[in-house]
């Protein structure tokens, strides 16, 4: 089996981001909580690869620590979306055409009618800013996505012979959903999870950028960009590196998702 370049590059970028975030728990080049005013606003150099901010903190270390918040919020939001969306989608497909199916689809329409970022801003504003509420705000939008993908894929599985065989064997709808439908939609869900993960990182960055996500003193990529904005004339590097971190991580996850999709279904390869 040949691995596609997208898969290799995507996996490498994603693993680098996750690896740096994990490493930051044990080691960073500099302590991000120590302020060194003498070393403030230094351009990138051998000592400070990404330069320093207005408090003299090492930006490379901050990008490493900031990765934690972005990755954690996006990952938990995917968990929320899949945890609620997948059972809903499975149930809707098992009772296709019934009231539950109708209800799930209408709730989908309702959530999709809201401009997502705007509702996320409203939710965090209502519940108060912070990482936990950012997870809820982003996670809510993942629910209909997972419900829809699961339902769509599960619907066609319910017409297949092996499901029929399971019904003849006397298995109930719930057992068939878990034992026969779920394993067959798992590939699709993993691809979708990768995509939602990358969208979550973008959303978290947006929320933190407007001050509604992760709160100080915890660094996050979005908050760093917010702070960098006022200093963009004197310290452009402060605005460039956290942004690059976002782009490379999201790019990596998207490529990983594409690669996994091609891997799980060679028929769609190059069709998109």
């Amino acid at each position: 089996m040949r691995l596609s370049p997208a898969l290799v590059i995507g996996a490498a970028l994603s693993l680098t981001a996750v690896g740096l975030a994990a490493l930051s728990f044990f080691w960073t080049p500099y302590d991000v909580t120590r302020l060194t005013v003498a070393a403030r606003l230094q351009p990138p150099s051998a000592q400070h690869w990404f330069g320093t901010d207005h408090f003299g903190r090492d930006i490379f270390s901050m990008v490493m620590v900031g990765a934690r918040a972005s990755i954690a919020v996006a990952l938990v939001a995917v968990g929320v979306g899949a945890g609620l969306g997948v059972p809903l989608g499975l149930a809707a497909a098992a009772r296709r055409g019934g009231w539950l199916d109708e209800l799930v689809m209408r709730l989908n329409d309702l959530i999709f009618a809201f401009p997502s970022l705007l509702l996320a801003i409203m939710i965090t504003a209502t519940l108060g800013p912070g990482a936990f509420n950012a997870v809820i705000a982003i996670g809510i939008f993942n629910i209909p996505v997972f419900a829809r993908v699961t339902r769509g894929a599960a619907l066609s599985l319910w017409t297949r012979d092996f499901v029929l065989a399971a019904r003849v064997a006397g298995k109930g709808a719930a057992r068939i959903s878990v034992e026969h439908v779920l394993p067959n939609v798992a590939n699709l869900l993993i691809v979708q999870a990768t995509i939602q993960f990358s969208l979550g990182i973008l959303a978290e960055a947006g929320l933190s950028y407007v001050g509604l996500g992760v709160q100080p003193p915890m660094p996050s990529w979005g908050r760093m960009l917010n702070e960098a904005q006022t200093m963009i004339y004197v310290a452009p590097w402060f605005a460039i590196f956290p942004g690059l971190a976002i782009v490379l991580t999201v790019l990596g996850l998207n490529l990983l998702g594409d690669g996994l999709r091609d891997l799980s279904d060679p028929k769609v390869r190059r069709a998109r």
Partner: protein, 315 residues
């Protein structure tokens, strides 16, 4: 066709009604008493009670919900807690910035994406296609507010072609458009990437259809078949995405308007949230959901006009 549109309109009206209920309930549970916010923490209890009565905050929630809906239907959105002006006027003012900004961005994104997508599809598998796909991947991964910061860095501090923010008003339309250019470009670029990908894949899919083979068999060159037959049919998914982008652009404008200090709807919502001016938030949000719903209906109508098969389908 008419029956189809009536059915779609009814569904969307119900969605809209449910959306207003969700907005109302969500802001109802929001902490913070608007009367206290308006008067400040040192206000006396009597003053707060008087203001609560004036704002009609003492009525039961259902009554207030219905009164709010009835008001909106008449075009009366209520009075802002903080600005002390009718919300309809505030919204009209802000719409004069956000409306043109969204359309400007939508136009840019379409103008970039359709030629880019067609070119990539026509040169499928070659260098131009690969380069386009690479740029698409980068565009999709880039947050629009970071694009905005880079644009400010390049064009307002570096080249000094555009101002870094603010809006001079529509007195001088050219200056106004200039002030909206960097915001519109930063909104448009990530969306253009998505649209390019959709255009390319829709066209590639259409080119493998039987009627294209027939057209080629009749002696049309690949390029002629693409122009005359494939392009029109490939526009259907592209149209949906353009419709969907409208809501993304409106939402994205919240952040971009904050980057460029533009007095638009997004900033109005954001300030309303920060100042707990919830009636403004409620109204603007409802209006945005209405806009998204209307665009969805327009896209459905365009669909039905283009493809008769869709009229018969239920979902």
């Amino acid at each position: 066709m008419i029956a189809f549109l009536v059915r779609r309109a009814a569904t969307l009206a119900l969605t809209l009604l449910a959306a207003t209920a969700v907005i109302f309930v969500m802001l109802e549970v929001a902490p913070g008493d608007p009367a206290v916010t308006m008067l400040g923490l040192n206000a006396s209890d009597e003053a707060v009670a008087a203001l609560r009565a004036e704002l009609g905050l003492n009525a039961p929630p259902l009554e207030r919900y219905l009164a709010w809906l009835a008001g909106m239907l008449r075009g009366d959105f209520g009075v802002s807690y903080t600005y002390r002006t009718p919300i309809a006027e505030l919204i009209a003012d802000r719409l004069a910035v956000s409306g043109p900004l969204t359309l400007y961005a939508l136009a840019l994104s379409t103008l970039i994406a359709i030629p880019a997508g067609v070119h990539a599809a026509a040169h499928r598998g070659r260098a131009a296609d690969a380069a386009t796909l690479g740029l698409v991947q980068i565009g999709v991964a880039t947050p629009n507010f970071w694009v905005a910061m880079l644009l400010v860095l390049a064009f307002s501090t570096g080249l000094r072609w555009f101002s870094a923010g603010g809006f001079p008003g529509w007195g001088d339309p050219l200056e106004a458009m200039r002030a909206l250019t960097l915001p519109a470009v930063s909104l448009a670029l990530p969306q253009a990437a998505i649209l390019t990908r959709v255009m390319r894949s829709a066209l590639i899919e259409t080119m493998s259809e039987d009627y294209i083979r027939t057209a080629r068999a009749k002696g049309l060159s690949e390029r002629q078949a693409l122009r005359r037959h494939a392009l029109r049919n490939a526009m259907i998914p592209v149209l949906t995405i353009i419709g969907m982008q409208f809501s993304f652009l409106l939402a994205g404008a919240v952040i971009i308007e904050n980057v460029f200090f533009l007095p638009g709807l997004g900033r109005l919502v954001f300030q309303g949230v920060v100042q707990r001016d919830l009636i403004v938030v409620k109204s603007v949000l409802t209006l945005l959901v209405l806009a998204v719903t209307l665009v969805t209906l327009a896209v459905d109508a365009a669909y039905a006009a283009v493809d008769p098969r869709l009229r018969a389908r239920r979902r």
